[in-house]
């Protein structure tokens, strides 16, 4: 297939231990990311998307977390094994991250310019003046008007969308190879969301950055990603190129997710005056501390059989770069 991928996660297991037991937040997830690619990770709240992302940068405090197994290879080196010193060089410089809430992800007592310039100074060994110029240049690049003046302002003087753009400027200031975006548009309203996503795609093309887009919004995935990974209860249940996933989802969970997107014709289009109810996936995400026997989705699955409740299905390749973990994939309910 391809030459060596840029980033490769192999059978990653991250558990949290507390007095109530062990929470399997991430339980055997594997995936690869090629240079310049955009990979989407979707799933409900608490399915382990963010923990997977944070593990790549080793940002999860341990204790309480334990990496119980697996490897995260970046250019051949296992990030779970490298020294803290090397990890700091990688963070922000080679792999960057954007967080969900732009209102709280910027330090309120430092100006926007200072925060960007600081990172540039740290990684690029540039002088103060050059770093500042780079900060202004980055703000310009993310379409902040009057960047020279704005760089001297504090986060509270920025609107939510501007702050998220400033975060993107901060994350891309050192020209990283990988950008991890953890729900970058969730906290923003829809028009600003679109602006932010467009901006990320534009910059990705300009810089050749590979993006891991973590979201619970399939619309975001459809707009931005080339390949999608669907997670459920800490496991990868399906992986597919984005077009295939939307055209023909194989896992019943993915099918449920797609069915629960509101569509214009379901809102009373077919039968005037009569509205169809929006489809939902019944039940709740299982608690991650429960020792699940069988497929974790079985209790909510419309097609579950005795086999599903007894043994967890293995992840099987389905051709065309697709993978699914289901005993009865693809059958429409």
């Amino acid at each position: 297939m391809n030459p060596a991928p840029l980033l490769e996660i192999e059978d990653l297991k991250v558990y949290f231990a507390n007095r109530d037991g062990i929470f399997r937040a991430v339980d055997g997830v594997s995936c690869t990311l090629d240079p310049g690619e955009t990979l989407g990770i979707v799933g409900e709240s608490g399915c382990g998307k963010s923990v997977t992302a944070m593990s790549i940068l080793r940002l999860i405090p341990s204790p309480p977390s334990v990496v119980a197994g697996g490897a995260i290879r970046y250019r051949g080196a296992d990030l779970l094994q490298v020294s803290e010193q090397r990890m700091r060089e990688i963070r922000g410089n080679e792999i960057s991250m954007i967080f969900q809430d732009p209102m709280t992800s910027l330090n309120p007592v430092l100006t926007i310019g200072e925060q960007i310039a600081e990172t540039v100074t740290l990684h690029q060994k540039l002088g103060g003046r050059a770093s500042w110029d780079r900060a202004v240049e980055m703000l310009q690049l993310v379409n902040i008007p009057e960047p020279v003046k704005r760089a001297r302002e504090y986060p509270h003087q920025f609107s939510g969308g501007m702050r998220q753009r400033a975060m993107i400027a901060l994350a891309l200031a050192c020209n990283p190879n990988v950008l991890i975006a953890d729900e970058p548009s969730t906290a923003l309203d829809v028009t600003i969301q679109a602006q932010i996503l467009d901006l990320m795609l534009k910059l990705k093309q300009e810089f050749g950055t590979a993006i891991i887009m973590i979201t619970h919004d399939l619309g975001v995935v459809a707009e931005t990603c080339a390949r999608v990974l669907v997670m459920y209860a800490g496991r990868k249940v399906e992986e597919a190129p984005v077009a295939d996933l939307f055209r023909e989802p194989l896992h019943p969970y993915t099918q449920g997710l797609l069915a629960s997107i509101p569509k214009l014709h379901t809102l009373g289009g077919g039968h005037p005056g009569r509205r169809q109810r929006l489809a939902e996936i019944p039940g709740m995400v299982p608690s991650l501390s429960d020792q699940v026997q069988g497929c974790p989705f079985a209790p909510r699955c419309p097609r579950a059989t005795a086999q599903c409740r007894e043994a967890a299905p293995p992840l099987e390749p389905k051709g065309g770069g697709r993978m699914v973990a289901c005993w009865r994939p693809g059958v429409d309910a």
Binding site: L57, L59, R88, E89, I90, R91, G92, N93, S96, M97, F99, D101, T104, S105, L106, N107, P108, V109, L110, Q115, E118, T119, L122, H123, M167, L170, A171, C174
Partner: protein, 293 residues
């Protein structure tokens, strides 16, 4: 509506023409406290020039004299001029207050940041601080004073030590809140080094409450110094201080009330001014209290 808008514009215009006046109107406590404190400090600093009489010079013939043109605040049991002693005493109080505030805050910040960031150190430090707080401050200070030769420096140390635990607790609590903030994690995610994280990202976020706390420590140190001197465990008797003066005047309070009155008034006003300043600073620096026009 139109009237209030016009009013608003008028007030905006007037405050922009004389920004100082607008500031004083918005923060009356702060300005009052600062002005009062400035007067106190100026009197203490200018003591050698304003108070023409030597504060330690005794005059047995003029003992316990009430206030007069010669001796503005009267004389004490040894015939010393109460006015000059009060002004000179202010120097001791202010030096002690400011030094204690600075040293207790800076030592407290170091220990508190260590407690907030190093899990292992936290338990140890906080138990020691709990222990220190279990001993009444005045007893701890008296005990410390008996260990060393009495001087202004020992007084400062003796008052600083019991103040430290309060700062440590404040700093630790703030650090525990701030280090969980997303921007700290975001800073970590771009590779910021540990010590830099502390200095540049955490410290500036706790400076505001610290400044306010420092003013309260300053006020409490001024009182503390007077306590200690009053008990005879503070500033040595050859240096005039408000506590000393009141202790000496205690025996003759029925004959010469003024010996206690003036240092007492000065002490009260100084502490009041520092507390007003602290309250005013808190309102000024706390962004949650809405800025009124």
């Amino acid at each position: 509506m139109a009237v209030t808008l016009a009013n608003l514009e008028l007030r905006l215009a007037s405050s922009s023409r004389r920004p100082w006046l607008g500031f004083a109107r918005r923060h009356p406590l702060l300005v009052l406290g600062a002005a009062l404190l400035l007067v106190m400090a100026a009197l203490a600093l200018a003591a050698p020039w304003i108070a023409a009489k030597d504060p330690t010079e005794m005059d047995i013939l003029h003992r316990l004299k009430p206030p007069s043109a010669e001796h503005w605040f009267g004389t004490d049991a040894l015939g010393r001029d109460v006015f000059s002693r009060t002004l000179w005493g202010g120097r001791v109080s202010l030096v002690v207050g400011i030094s204690v505030a600075l040293s207790a805050t800076s030592i407290g910040v170091l220990i508190g940041m260590a407690a907030g960031f190093i899990r292992l150190a936290d338990t140890l430090i906080m138990r020691v601080m709990d222990g220190m707080m279990a001993i009444p401050g005045i007893l701890l200070a008296v005990a410390l004073m008996t260990l060393a030769h009495a001087s202004v420096r020992t007084v400062v140390i003796a008052i600083t030590v019991p103040e430290i635990p309060r700062v440590v607790r404040l700093v630790r609590a703030l650090v525990l809140i701030i280090r969980e903030q997303p921007y700290i994690q975001a800073a970590e995610a771009v590779g910021t080094r540990y010590h830099w994280l502390l200095l540049r990202h955490v410290l500036p976020n706790i400076v505001t409450p610290l400044i306010v706390q420092a003013t309260f420590i300053c006020a409490s140190a001024v009182i503390f110094e007077a306590y200690l001197s009053f008990l005879g465990a503070g500033t040595p008797p050859e240096i005039p201080s408000w506590g000393n003066m009141m202790a000496e005047g205690r025996a003759v309070v029925q004959l010469a009330f003024h010996i206690i009155l003036y240092p007492g008034l000065f002490l009260g006003f100084t502490v009041l001014s520092i507390n007003l300043l602290g309250d005013g600073l808190r309102d000024l620096l706390d962004p949650r209290i809405a800025r009124r026009l």
